[in-house]
Structure formats: structure tokens, C-alpha cells
């Protein structure tokens, strides 16, 4: 039996820089995403302060455009998606009974690409100004902008996007190839299902963004003419490409939240999820329809009534599977023994809030009416109801729910409830009045309005709400800090969980399952609990466990791209070439150095089991 003793135990910072453990990468995603969430939130509050009163002159003109661009870009690409990826990494392999993800090394590459891409984008604040063409970077706004802001957008997103694509492929293969014995597709927890469909959407949506960003980069850096009408270009090409990516992107964001809500509603109602197979079907159907509707972002562009009608009908169709989900969550709670923990509060708060966002979505899907709503605060209200009222409430719920699994601590419930009520009330105060602001004609993306137009009161209330949301987030930070005390240590199954991630001891062993579990039904752990076992039946004898070695290469590879990003931004070809050279060298090293990982010996695993550590 050949074993490999090349394994080096690393500690401290080096451990985090070289880790390929999906649980640690999940924590890294959560921390980095959380950090960017705070920055994006701060940018939002600054905008709301500017809009608090008419004719205000605090953040005007170009600076306001930078704030609004960076708020959107940061929240979507650097906060929401990484936090989703954090949960996927930390939880998905555990839910399907896997020891790891399919490509641990690629997983680390994905994280560091996102991190350095996000860093590059945000450094623009200090290096000549942030991008100012909106998160959609519409040409020709983005192509004629003369400072380097849009270049940071282009390079930062390209690097981060590559990481996202790698993550998507990784999760698809993990789910298809690495499920434990008995974990059939129709026994997978809904969060795993949602992550699976989301990963499929990433696979087919992100390459379109890659091309769009390349075109924009070639236009700005190499003087190409894709969008320059004087030279035969066409700005509509950007809009089409952007939304062919951009619309699936909103389902990439919301489907994992649906998955999280399904897990939590079921757990805290102490009931199996109502209509499980319908939920799976609805998830897949939403994923499919997500690709069929991008033109509803372009109803006013002038593509004609036939194109508009087709995309209007396809858009409205999405309400059907979404409605199926809403009713199934309600029926899951119906007759259940509901425990209103913080996670459950967020999940329950999610349901009516998301329905409101969905209803305004159907309103917007009528092209004739869209001509009235277009580019007004009504649209701002709509997408914040689905993205914040849907996704962010879902992520808060997931954080409170999975915090014990990820950090071996529970969060304080009293502070959690303060967090919920401040954020929830603040959210509705912020965005509900914006429906009226929009219907009364207040356009989005402008930095001020005049007094005497009946816009003052609603704007003032909206700003107060934003500050309350900020206060709610601060409560969460305090909660996280105090949870570090040993008083908040947790047991392995604090919520009476139903799915596999609650079947392991605290802390989770690096190899997850000492013995791969045998799955005997939906809600695998609950099946064993009702059968009187309390823990999973193993599907294999105790044996050697093969583990991947940590590596610094993902970090260096991403650093190389980060450096080359600066080269392209400042048209310094030596720096650009050197950075790409670093990337090629790390790829070369990865190919020529054989790394077969290492083995954890049977005796060690047995000792862990005896000592209650596995």
C-alpha cells in the first residue's frame, strides 16, 4: 500500500492561504463576502443620506455615480454571490455525504480569484476614482468614460467571474459524482438542489459575461469598435450580451435563498417539506425560464411588439413555479410545530416580502406598463424587494441556521431578534415608499430632486429605513463578536436537524464523515432518528481516507492575474505580461509537480471515533 507522507501541517495565516478544505474555503467566502457586504451597505447609506432632503449637495455628480455603480456591482458580485458560495462550500458536500468537493484545488483557485478581483475593483476608489457607468456598464456610457474607473470594473469583474465559473463546475461535478450511497437525486435536500441548478445557470450565463467584458476591454484598451456607432458598432450588442448573462444572474442569486428557506421552514416546523418533488421541479423550471426572459430588461429599446410580447409571456410564466414554492412553504408550516428561532423569523419574513417583489415583477413584465415604470424608482423598489427582501433575508436566515455548523458556536437569540426586527422594519421603510416615488415620476440614478414635488416625505422615510437596516447589521456584528465566548459553544445538532450536515460531531472533522453514511430516505438524519438510531448507518468499514494537500499556488496564480490587471488598466504591457507570466508559471508548476495528496490512517480515524471526534 503506497502512502504519501508529503503532507505538511500548516498553521495560522499560512493554513488559510493554502487551504483546499471546502469548509475553510466556505468560511473565507463568508468573511470576504461579508466584508464587501458592509462596504456595499455603506455606499447605499451614503446615497440615501444624499437623497434624504431635496437639493442636497453632499454626494453629487460623478461621486454619486461612483457610489451607485459600486453599490450595485459590489452587492451582486462581491457580497451576495460569495456569501452564497460560502454556504455552498460549507454545507453542500456535507448534505450529500461527500468527503470533499470534486476539485479541491480549483475550489481554492475560485476563492482567490474572487478575492483579488474584488480587491482590484475596490482599489479604484483610491486610484483615480471608481467606475461610474452603473453596474450594467451600458455602452456608450462605459466606452466613453475617460478615467480608469470602468477599466477597474472590467478587469476586476473578469477575474472574479472566472472564479465563479470554476466554482459552478465544481459543484455540478460534486453533486453528480460524489453523493453518498442511497443519496439519489430525489433524496437531495432542497438547498443542494437549488445550488445544483444555480451552478448550471452559472455555467451557461457567465461565459456570456466573459465575452461582454472582453469586448468592453478591447474597446477601451485596444480601441476596438464593437459599440462605436461611428465605426459601424452597435450599443445594443452590449445590452443583449449583458442581460443574457444578467437575467439568469438574478436567479443564480435567488434560487439558493429558496433552498435555504426550504431547509429552515421544514426544520423549524418539524415537518417534511410539503410537495418536495414539486419544489424540485419548480427549481429546475425557474432555472430554465431564467434564460428565456432577458429582453424584459430592454422593452423600451424598440425591438418591436412581437419580441416584447414573447418575452413578456415568458417572464410572466416564471410566476407559476415561484407561486408553487410560496404555497409549499406555507403548507409546510401548516399544522407544524413551529419554533420561532431567529433563522425561522427571517424565513417567515422572507415569504410575504418576496411575494410583494414578485407581484411588482409581474407588473413590470407588461411592456405597455413598463414604458411608464422604466428607469423610475418603482424598478428600484421592485428589485430590492426581491434581492434584499428575498435573497438577503434568506442569507441572514442561513447564517443563523448554519452558524453552529460552520463556527462551532450559536449566535445569541435575543440579539438575533433585534437584528431581524431592525433589518426587517428598516427594509420595508426604505423600499416600500420607493414604489410611490417611482409612480410619481422620480427617476432612478439621479442624485437629487426638487422640493415641492411631493417627493420629500417618502425620500426622508426611505433614508431613515436605510439607517435602521445599517443598525440591524451592526447588531449582527456585535452578535458575532460575543458568540466567540465559550458560553455559546454548541452541540452537534442544536436545531433537531433533519439533513446530513447535522450528523457529524463539533467541530467537523477535516474528512467530514469517518465512514461514508448510508442514506435511506429524504431527510436522511430524520429517517435514522425516527428509526431509533439517532445517527447515520455507515455504508463502509473504517479505512484509510485520502485527502488533498494544501497549496499556495491558487493564491499566487490569482495574485498574478491581479498584477496583470493593473498592467491592462494602465496600459503597461510589461506589468501585464509579467502578471500573466506568473499565472502561466503556476499553471506549469501545477502540471509538472505530482501531488497525489496524503492518507489519514485507519488507526487515526478509529481513534477519532473512539474519542467522539468523528
Amino acid at each position: 500500500m503506497a502512502t504519501h507522507e508529503s503532507h505538511k501541517k500548516r498553521s495560522g495565516l499560512m493554513d488559510w492561504l493554502t487551504t483546499v478544505d471546502h469548509k475553510k474555503i466556505g468560511i473565507l467566502y463568508l468573511l470576504a463576502g461579508g466584508f464587501f457586504f458592509l462596504i456595499g451597505g455603506l455606499e447605499a447609506i451614503l446615497m440615501r443620506i444624499q437623497l434624504m432632503e431635496p437639493d442636497s449637495k453632499i454626494f453629487t455628480g460623478e461621486l454619486y455615480n461612483q457610489l451607485l455603480t459600486m453599490h450595485g456591482t459590489t452587492m451582486i458580485f462581491l457580497a451576495a454571490m460569495p456569501i452564497i458560495f460560502g454556504f455552498m462550500n460549507a454545507i453542500l458536500p456535507l448534505q450529500i455525504g461527500a468527503r470533499d468537493v470534486a476539485f479541491p484545488f480549483v475550489n481554492a483557485v475560485g476563492f482567490w480569484l474572487f478575492f483579488f478581483g474584488g480587491l482590484l475593483l475596490n482599489l479604484s476608489w483610491f486610484l483615480g476614482g471608481a467606475p461610474e457607468a452603473g453596474w450594467t456598464a451600458y455602452a456608450p456610457l462605459s466606452t466613453v468614460a475617460e478615467d480608469t474607473g470602468v477599466d477597474f470594473y472590467v478587469l476586476g469583474l473578469q477575474i472574479a467571474g472566472a472564479g465563479t465559473l470554476a466554482g459552478g463546475i465544481n459543484f455540478l461535478v460534486t453533486v453528480i459524482n460524489m453523493r453518498a450511497p442511497g443519496m439519489t437525486f430525489m433524496r437531495m435536500p432542497l438547498f443542494t438542489w437549488a445550488s445544483f441548478v444555480t451552478s448550471g445557470l452559472i455555467l451557461f450565463a457567465f461565459p456570456a459575461l466573459t465575452v461582454g467584458i472582453f469586448l468592453l476591454m478591447f474597446e477601451r484598451v485596444f480601441e476596438a469598435n464593437f459599440f462605436n456607432a461611428d465605426m459601424g458598432g452597435n450599443v445594443l450588442i452590449w445590452e443583449h450580451i449583458f442581460w443574457i448573462f444578467g437575467h439568469p444572474e438574478v436567479y443564480i442569486l435567488i434560487l439558493p435563498a429558496f433552498g435555504i428557506i426550504s431547509e429552515i421552514v421544514s426544520t423549524f416546523s418539524s415537518k417534511r417539506l410539503f410537495g418536495y418533488s414539486a419544489m424540485v421541479f419548480a427549481t429546475v423550471l425557474i432555472g430554465f425560464l431564467g434564460f428565456m426572459v432577458w429582453v424584459h430588461h430592454m422593452f423600451t429599446v424598440g425591438l418591436g411588439p412581437v419580441a416584447n410580447s414573447i418575452f413578456a409571456v415568458a417572464t410572466m410564466a416564471i410566476a407559476i413555479p415561484t407561486g408553487v414554492k410560496i404555497f409549499n412553504w406555507i403548507f409546510t408550516m401548516w399544522g407544524g410545530q413551529i419554533r420561532f428561532t431567529t433563522a425561522m423569523l427571517f424565513a417567515v419574513g422572507f415569504i410575504p416580502t418576496f411575494v410583494m417583489g414578485g407581484v411588482t415583477g409581474v407588473m413590470l413584465s407588461v411592456p405597455a406598463a413598463d414604458y411608464q415604470y422604466h428607469d423610475s424608482y418603482f424598478v428600484v423598489a421592485h428589485f430590492h424587494y426581491v434581492i434584499v427582501g428575498g435573497l438577503i433575508l434568506g442569507l441572514f436566515a442561513g447564517l443563523y441556521y448554519w452558524y453552529p455548523r460552520m463556527f462551532n458556536r450559536v449566535l445569541n437569540e435575543t440579539l438575533g431578534k433585534w437584528n431581524f426586527w431592525l433589518f426587517f422594519i428598516g427594509f420595508h421603510l426604505t423600499f416600500f415608499p420607493q414604489h410611490w416615488l417611482g409612480l410619481m415620476g422620480m427617476p432612478r440614478r439621479v442624485y437629487t430632486y426638487m422640493s415641492g414635488q411631493d417627493l420629500d416625505g417618502a425620500n426622508f422615510v426611505s433614508t431613515i429605513g436605510a439607517i435602521l437596516m445599517g443598525a440591524g447589521t451592526i447588531v449582527l456584528l456585535i452578535n458575532i463578536v460575543i458568540s466567540a465566548s465559550s458560553k455559546y459553544a454548541t452541540t452537534k445538532d442544536p436545531w433537531d436537524g433533519r439533513t446530513l450536515e447535522w450528523a457529524m460531531p463539533v467541530p467537523t472533522p477535516e474528512y467530514n464523515f469517518a465512514q461514508t453514511p448510508l442514506v435511506r430516505g429524504l431527510d436522511a438524519l430524520y429517517v435514522e432518528k425516527t428509526a431509533g438510531n439517532g445517527e447515520m448507518t455507515p455504508a463502509e468499514p473504517v479505512g484509510e481516507i485520502h485527502m488533498p494537500n494544501g497549496s499556495i499556488l491558487p493564491f499566487i496564480m490569482s495574485l498574478g492575474l491581479f498584477i496583470s490587471g493593473f498592467g491592462f488598466i494602465y496600459a503597461n504591457w510589461i506589468v501585464a505580461g509579467a502578471g500573466l507570466g506568473v499565472v502561466l508559471i503556476t499553471m506549469f508548476l501545477r502540471s509538472v509537480i505530482d501531488d497525489h495528496g496524503y492518507h489519514i490512517h485507519k488507526e487515526e480515524v478509529e481513534a477519532d471515533i473512539k474519542g467522539g471526534r468523528a
Binding site: N177, P207, N225, F226, G232, I237, H596
Partner: protein, 206 residues
Amino acid sequence: MNAGERLTDDNFPAHPEKATLEGKNKFLGFWLFLGGETVLFATLFGTYLGLRNMHLDGPSGEELFSLPLVFLATMLLLTSSLTSVYAVLSLKQNKVRSLQGWFIVTLLLGLGFLGLEIYEFIHYVHEGHTFTSSAFGSAFYTLVGFHGGHVLFGILWISTLLARNWNRGITLANAPKYYLFALYWHFVDVVWVFIFTVVYLMGKVG
């Protein structure tokens, strides 16, 4: 068994590229990656189709393209796909020398294709058809250049792979790598068939 050990004819599995979990994962992951690449090229094709008549005062595709040259390039690339099939057949029969030989032929044919493409681009630039001369120029060089970049990457990939495994024989660790390269090479070839049709043939008939 160690995945790095040389396989013998006695313990040779029917599908060495998928005999380990790592191999299975790579096999599936790479197919999915090619799915993403399809979207990438589809987007580039869409852009090209939208802009292909926007040549302004510069020469149009009809004036520029020389079908005999492109046909020769196509033949080189299609033949290289065939030789990579022979290499994979050798892989499945545990014939490492034959595998190396066929992949070297693949590599040389790929280099020939790339040489013709560089010659073609230089020729067009002299005709006044450049990356910045019109929207057609930008779209043409981006689409065909992305494909050329893929060919170049493939050449670097198979070179490294052959050099690294020159004295190793076929193992469960390198079999998936050879196989994946062949998949990639076929994909690059299929994309070229579309480029030949959409860019050159459709360009010629106007």
C-alpha cells in the same frame, strides 16, 4: 494502487481515463467546461453576425477571404483531430509510444494551422483590414483570434503533457489528462467548422 504507477497489460482497465474518482470528476467537469465554452463562442458568433457587414470603407469579407488558403487550414485542423483519435485509441490499448507519436503529429498539424492563420492575419492587415478599422474588423479578429488562442493553448498543453510523461508509460493519473486534451482538441476543431461556415463561406457569398 498508486495512481502514478505504470499500468501493465494485465491490470489495464477498459477505461483508464475514468478508472479513478479523480478521473471521473475530470471527465465530467471537462464536458461541463466545454458546455460553458460553447456559450462563449456562441456569444462571439452572435457579435460577429451582428457586425459582419459593418466594414465601412475597408474591404469586405467577400473581397478579403481566400477560400483555398482557409480550406488548407481546415484540412490541417481536421486531420489533427483524426490523429488525436488515433492517439486515444493507442491510450486504450496501453501503447504509449504510439500515443506519443500520434500526439506529436497532432501538435505539428496544429502548429501548421496556426502558422497559416498568422500569415492570413498579416496579409489582411496589409489590405487595410485591421482590428480598429471597423466594427467588422474588431468582430472578425476577436472571433477568429479567440479560436486561434485556443489552438495555441492546446499546443502548449499537449507539449507540457508529453514532455512531463515522456518516460512514464500510461498511468491512472495521466490517462485522464491525455483524454481531456483530445476532447478539447475536438471541441476546438468543431468551433473551427462553424467559423469556416459562418465567417468564410457566408462571407464569400455575401
